[in-house]
């Protein structure tokens, strides 16, 4: 009897501790976001929080955000995808070529996302069939897809006829009652879908299981290869959507765009609490991570700080976020 009491007492206290840690886990990145925003707000002045400025930041970050939604799923499943930057570039080329060939914008957009998904399926097949680690496979496809984009575009920018695709990131003041650019609404919708999928579907729970312990997932009858194939395909399709947004920003297809974008995307996921060891990550965190980077970028430029300052701050935050995460999981 005595014993049961002690044990129960322990459990009760453990719950309190758990609660505090979970609070930090989920809110830590949001606290960071608010802190960064306040610091730059203080530096730049109240105009930093004006609607137009906030919208500028949102427009700045949607491309990273959309790609990072897919990356969140990949990283939760214990993988990584270095090819997203190249897929974004390929997508701008594909959509420009399709538009130039006379297809309608809807068809062009669908075709682009399909093409991007094929790249992801290639990643998934190579990873599951060859049993090679994702880092190496996607390092290879990063070059491969980049090369394909350049070849397809004949190493030039592709001009395309104007369509509503070019307006995806245009400020909404002059374009109907959307309040925000359509691309931002699209990103928000995708974020909701991905968040819901990760949290409330079998597929999402299986991704967490695979990332947490692949052997356990296999023992539990999770079809590892199928799920991995799916997650890389979906992540690349997301990169395709990011490519459409990039095209809207550039209004041309450019095979040399988005070089190094994958690192920003991965950074957003990591700042947002994702673990490269898998099994951890959340959509809220990822978006907050992307937002932190956007605030630093825009805040620095509006404050007239040189680019190197911005890079040092972003780098510090990435390392700091991971250090904080280590500290949290140790406590």
């Amino acid at each position: 009897m005595d014993r049961a009491l002690t044990v129960d007492g322990r459990v009760g206290r453990a719950r309190g501790l758990l609660g505090a840690r979970r609070f930090l886990d989920e809110r830590g990145v949001l606290v960071g976001l608010v802190a960064v925003a306040l610091i730059f707000g203080a530096l730049v002045g109240p105009q930093f929080f004006r609607a137009a400025n906030l919208e500028l930041m949102a427009r700045q970050t949607v491309i990273v955000c959309v790609a990072a939604l897919g990356m969140t799923m990949v990283i939760v499943a214990g993988g990584i995808d270095l090819s997203v930057g190249s897929v974004v570039a390929l997508s701008t080329v594909v959509v420009a070529l399709l538009l130039r060939a006379g297809s309608g914008p809807v068809l062009a957009a669908l075709g682009t996302v399909m093409a991007a998904a094929v790249c992801g399926a290639l990643n998934g097949l190579l990873i599951t069939r060859l049993q090679v680690v994702p880092f190496i496979v996607t390092l290879g496809t990063m070059l491969l897809v980049r090369g394909a984009a350049k070849g397809l575009a004949d190493e030039r920018r592709i001009e395309a006829p104007i369509s509503w695709l070019n307006d995806l990131l245009r400020t909404a003041q002059d374009g109907g009652g959307l309040l925000l650019p359509a691309g931002i609404w699209l990103t928000a919708a995708l974020a909701l879908v991905v968040a819901f999928t990760l949290r409330y579907t079998r597929f999402g729970r299986h991704l967490f299981a695979i990332g947490s312990n692949e052997r356990t997932a296999r023992l539990c009858g999770v079809r590892i290869n199928l799920n991995k194939l799916a997650v890389y395909t979906i992540a690349s399709a997301m990169a395709g959507v990011a490519g459409l947004l990039e095209f809207a920003k550039l209004s041309v297809g450019d095979p040399t765009v988005a070089i190094g974008l994958e690192l920003d995307v991965i950074a957003a996921v990591i700042i947002g609490g994702g673990s490269l060891l898998g099994g951890k990550g959340s959509v809220v965190g990822t978006i907050a991570g992307a937002a932190i980077m956007a605030i630093i970028q825009i805040g620095c430029s509006q404050q007239g700080l040189p680019n190197w300052v911005q890079e040092i701050i972003t780098g510090t935050i990435i390392v700091g976020a991971v250090a904080l995460d280590r500290w949290r999981s140790r406590s």
Partner: protein
């Protein structure tokens, strides 16, 4: 304790206290071991053994208490201080560098060197001397450690402790990955080290081992001393009673068993050369030495490893199957490797428990966490799993409770055929008894045509004899015929397992 009559103890811990947050892990524990003595430290999981040894080895700083090593004050700030002072720990999970050679591992960190250059001759001599001291010159100093058997790796680790000049050697569950012969040799080695004057702390869940190897025992319970005494004059069940704080009735339960139709039929399956039928309402045990291929056979049946030839028929299904198919066909498996395979340590109790069957927890492909929690809570209550709730991370649970979560997964999935690989490895006595009772209930309680069938692998012979209806022995990759449990004794099981019967 009778110290004072003899010399100063090799090490002496007094009034050691340690709290983690609000949890009192150790509350004024005394523990002392003399030179040339093997002292067993026993207690259930969570009793404080690991914390106490963590303090001794410098990994954990105590809140209060006094420690002396050979009479001198001893307060290691970190593990390296303890090592330098001559306190060596051999953990269940060995800490060797698998790609380095035996010699390099033995001298790792204490490489004899001049001007920063390793003197290989002296290193070789040190390693050879350490292996010689263990009486094992058959281990080649040049071999990569990763290529050695677990038993040999353990010896390398002990040799490393000797090479660094240890005075206190702590062995934590050293036999958990050893076969019968290797256990024997380890015990001989312990006696030899004792005669050389080392102080040895032996941590084990196995009372038989404690009885056999130790001179004295100390029992911890709920972070305090619960008893001690000379091992030879104390009966095993008395020690168990001190651990549990009450007497455990019969460890093994056996309801009335009645066998029904065959659920699993295995024909000429390779690897394993196994042919047997498993019927509803029975427990079929597989005995054998470590490395005899028992786990491989189970994994092949479950589809985790490919079958070379032969046939597995499960109900109406035959032909090749992956784990995914097996679960759907009504078969579930408990892995012997709880941490590495059985459970995803970073996920919650609920996620682990419902991992194989998320359907029915929401419409279509959806999973509602509230229903997942409710399903998990049902099993948490039913199996008395001690946890803060279904969302607590599995890694924070004790070994016994983790194992209950792993077993609960099979119950949640409601499989007909349960494959259990070492279901009680490394868990405390009370949890063991609960798991035995549960297994018994599965095959003997409820509707006759709803009862389950269990295929059980265990290295612990009393357990097999206690719970199984029939037992087959696996030796050198071949499974022998299954015979009723009454026809077996520990002796005959061992004879068959070691191939002694075939040889004579």
């Amino acid at each position: 304790m009778v110290e004072g009559l003899t010399a100063v103890p090799r090490f002496d811990m007094r009034g050691v206290r340690k709290t983690f947050g609000a949890t009192v892990a150790l509350d004024g524990v005394n523990f002392a071991v003399r030179a040339g003595e093997v002292c067993a430290l026993v207690g259930q999981n969570g009793a404080g053994k690991s914390t106490l040894m963590g303090i001794l080895s410098g990994a954990i700083r105590p809140d209060a208490g006094e420690m002396r090593l050979d009479g001198a004050s001893y307060a290691p700030r970190q593990p390296i201080d303890a090592r330098r002072a001559g306190v060596a720990m051999i953990y269940q999970e060995l800490s060797l560098a698998p790609h380095l050679s035996v010699m390099e591992n033995i001298v790792l960190g204490v490489e004899p060197s001049r001007y920063g250059i390793v003197q290989r001759d002296r290193a070789r001599a040190t390693a050879a001397a350490a292996l010689e001291e263990l009486g094992r010159h058959d281990i080649p100093p040049q071999a990569a450690v990763g290529t050695l058997s677990p038993a040999s790796q353990q010896l390398v680790e002990i040799a490393r402790a000797l090479a660094t000049g240890c005075r206190v050697l702590v062995l934590d569950e050293p036999t958990s990955s050893l076969g019968h012969d290797d256990v024997r040799r380890l015990f001989d080695l312990i006696q030899r080290l004792k005669q050389q004057g080392h102080a040895i702390v032996y941590i084990s869940h196995f009372i038989e081992e404690v009885k056999e190897v130790s001179d004295r025992f100390v029992v911890l319970r709920d972070g305090g001393n619960a008893g001690d005494g000379p091992t030879a004059q104390t009966r095993g069940d008395e020690i168990v009673r001190m651990m549990v704080g009450r007497s455990v009735g019969d460890l093994y339960t056996r309801g009335s068993r009645e066998t029904g139709e065959a659920l699993l039929q295995v024909d000429e399956l390779m690897p394993g050369a196994a042919s047997f039928a498993l019927r509803r309402g029975e427990i079929l045990g597989i005995a054998g030495l470590l490395g005899a291929g028992r786990s491989r056979l189970l994994r092949t049946i479950f589809g985790l490893e490919p079958a070379k030839s032969g046939r597995v028929t499960l109900g109406v299904y035959s032909g090749p199957a992956a784990p995914h198919d097996r679960w759907r066909q009504g078969m579930g498996m408990l892995s012997e490797d709880r941490g590495g395979e059985g459970l995803a340590a970073g996920l919650s109790v609920a996620d682990n428990l419902t991992g194989s069957r998320l359907d029915g927890l929401g419409p279509g492909v959806f999973v509602w966490p509230s229903r997942q929690n409710a399903a998990a809570t049902r099993w948490i209550d039913r199996l008395a799993i001690r946890c803060a709730g279904p969302r607590q991370t599995v890694a924070e649970l004790s070994g016994g409770n983790q194992q209950k979560v792993a077993v609960a997964r099979l119950l949640h999935h409601d499989v007909d055929v349960l494959i259990l690989d070492e279901p009680t490895r490394g868990i405390d006595v009370a949890s063991k008894a609960e798991i035995y009772r549960l297994i018994d209930e599965l095959v003997s309680a409820g509707d006759r045509d709803k009862r389950k069938a269990v295929l059980l692998v265990s290295s612990y012979l009393p357990e097999l004899l206690g719970v199984c209806d029939r037992i087959a022995v696996m030796s050198r990759g071949r499974l022998g015929p299954a015979r009723p449990v009454e026809e077996w004794t520990e002796h005959s099981l061992l004879m068959d397992a070691s191939g002694a019967r075939a040889a004579s």
